[in-house]
């Protein structure tokens, strides 16, 4: 079974991001970039499937400029067998990403595609679902557990009411939630080996996709600073403020 895993280059989750002075975007100058945490979980799950003998090959794919090869190498160090970069410039919106991934899926014909449920930069939570629609493959989103049984895939999903288990026919698409697994650290020998693993680079044209823009980012602003609290003199005053100022009761 071939598993395709999508990985995205994002600002490291430890970094406190700032908006650019002109409000046009998040300031990425001298900011540490990493693999999106949900994508890291997706890679870990694919590698575990391979270690369990269920998967035969794990392919890590990323879309972006040359810098995203760093995140592909991270995935290779974590245990993926080979990498694919689809080279694009600037930011690419989820629908285009999904179309590009569809092109890779058609080339590679994986039985399972695992993506992070969302990236921590845009928080769109769209690509996996769009890819499912474009490829007409069944999807199990927000997965906290998956199990392969022949050509069937059992996906336990985290939903509002608790856990929901789906049975999907493969090939299928899964998006990983936080509790799917705890990713390993890449060992130093594996980091060395990752440098020698194959990494193919495609252009969007190679995949028959035209990179278009449907969305315009109007502005980026930091969230409003939290105001200092006040001390009230009595319960009556507290109730009055909750009722008339906060309007929560």
């Amino acid at each position: 079974m071939k598993v395709l895993v999508a990985v995205k280059r994002v600002v490291d989750y430890n970094v406190k991001v700032r908006a650019k002075a002109d409000g046009s975007d998040v300031d990425l100058n001298n900011v540490k970039m990493s693999i999106n945490p949900f994508c890291e979980i997706a890679v870990e799950e694919a590698v575990r499937l391979k270690e369990a003998g269920t998967a035969t090959e794990v392919i890590a794919v990323s879309i972006g400029d040359k810098a995203c090869q760093e995140q592909i190498r991270t995935a290779l160090a974590l245990g993926a067998d080979r990498g694919i970069q689809v080279e694009t410039e600037g930011s690419v919106e989820p629908l285009v990403v999904a179309k590009l991934l569809k092109g890779v899926v058609e080339k590679e014909q994986p039985q399972l595609v695992i993506l992070g449920k969302q990236s921590i930069d845009g928080d769109n939570n769209q690509t996996g679902q769009m890819l499912g629609a474009l490829t007409n493959m069944p999807q199990g989103t927000f997965a906290s557990e998956i199990a392969v049984d022949g050509d069937k895939l059992s996906v336990t999903r985290e939903v509002d009411g608790g856990l929901q288990t789906l049975s999907l026919n493969m090939p299928a698409i899964v998006t990983s939630d936080l509790r799917l697994n705890e990713p390993r650290y890449a060992s130093l020998p594996n980091i060395m080996k990752a440098k020698k693993k194959p990494l193919d680079v495609y252009s969007p044209a190679d995949l028959g996709v035209e990179v278009t823009t449907h969305l315009t980012q109007v502005s980026v602003e930091p969230p409003a600073e939290r105001q200092a609290g006040i001390k009230v003199e009595s319960v009556d005053e507290l109730v009055d403020k909750l009722k008339n100022e906060a309007k929560v009761i």
């Binding site: 650290y185 890449a186 060992s187 130093l188 020998p189 594996n190 980091i191 060395m192």
Partner: protein
């Protein structure tokens, strides 16, 4: 000449640093103080799986065959988290000593270091006490003109207190009848190698400790408000930390050069290491002093994590040669008639 570290070296530093920062928390260090051995087998196993213990072990013995230059950035990361485990001693001192001794001793123990099945540490009688002798499967002990390779049972270890609760120090008494593996000039040469490498490891850890104390102090003074502003915005506070940052930046190249000199067997390696140890310990000492000040009275308390790092810095300053020892080494060179001083002699 390119003095910068390579992309791979930074990649290793970042990978190991991420692991250490996530796993070696102040809470875990404090828990270690309460345990009988003070050492964390699960953490050592995880470091082994990461491949760090085998980084300097030759490839022929199952390691990655890397050098002091490759390891020095990792040692800084060990300092940043005040790692209690004897990783720096093992990788930077014990492994080269085993290699220098060679033969069956190296063939037996180097693969065990690489696969994590044994802990090997090295100590000098000049240091008075040996660290981590209680958990060592093999203690390489340099005493007088002899080098001993001691297994548990071949020595007695009497515990001594340390200013740093993470350190476990022991006075070593060798059982009668135990023969050294090297004697005379050969043992002295290995003892010198251990001293230089131990001092380099201490210096590199001090860089990390200084950085950690700066980061903690900057975070605290950015958060603590007085007169409606963060106290870090006041010159009296921020200049303290700026001075530490400057001292630290000047110490970093000295440590990198010392690592390179050891790697290339530079004839000036001894004084380069002495310079590195003096500069790095000085930076860490200043960081400790000013960090206590900018934290206010609470900086000196047990509850605030700052003391974990400053006590380690104080302890490292006195081991593998104190400042007097290393200053004497630098002075010997300065007073030498043919000393090449000034800018023209820097890279000669």
């Amino acid at each position: 000449m390119d003095f910068t570290f390579s992309e791979d070296q930074y990649l290793f530093r970042d990978s190991v640093g991420e692991f250490l920062r996530n796993e070696v928390t102040p809470e875990r260090i404090r828990a270690g103080w309460e345990s009988p051995t003070g050492r964390d087998d699960a953490l050592w196993q995880a470091l082994t799986e990461l491949g760090v213990t085998g980084l300097t072990v030759p490839e022929s013995h199952g390691g990655l065959g890397m050098s002091a230059v490759d390891f020095v950035l990792l040692a800084q990361e060990c300092g940043y988290v005040a790692l209690p485990e004897p990783l720096v001693n093992t990788a930077l001192v014990a492994v080269p000593v085993l290699q220098a001794v060679g033969g069956e001793l190296a063939a037996t123990w180097l693969p065990k270091v690489a696969d994590g099945s044994a802990r090997v540490v090295c100590g000098l009688a000049n240091n008075q006490l040996a660290e981590d002798a209680h958990v060592a499967d093999l203690l390489l002990w340099c005493e007088g003109d002899a080098l001993f390779a001691l297994h548990p049972g071949q020595f007695t270890a009497r515990a001594n207190a340390s200013v740093d609760p993470s350190r476990r120090l022991y006075a070593i008494a060798i059982e009668p009848g135990v023969e050294p593996v090297l004697t005379g000039a050969a043992a002295n040469a290995v003892g010198g190698l251990a001293m230089r490498r131990g001092a380099l490891g201490a210096a590199a850890q001090c860089l990390g400790l200084a950085q950690r104390m700066i980061d903690m102090s900057v975070a605290y003074t950015s958060d603590r408000q007085q007169f409606g502003k963060p106290i870090g915005s006041f010159q009296a506070v921020k200049h303290h930390m700026a001075n530490v940052a400057v001292r630290l930046e000047y110490a970093k190249p000295a440590v990198a050069r010392a690592a390179y000199s050891l790697f290339t067997d530079d004839p000036g390696a001894q004084r380069h290491v002495a310079h590195a140890k003096l500069a790095a310990c000085d930076a860490a000492n200043l960081a400790a002093k000013h960090s206590i000040q900018v934290h206010g009275a609470m900086g000196y308390t047990w509850e605030v994590d700052l003391h974990i790092f400053m006590k380690k810095a104080w302890a490292l300053a006195g081991t593998w040669g104190d400042s007097g020892f290393h200053k004497a080494c630098v002075m010997d060179y300065l007073m030498y008639d043919d000393a090449r001083l000034g800018a023209t002699g820097t890279f000669s």
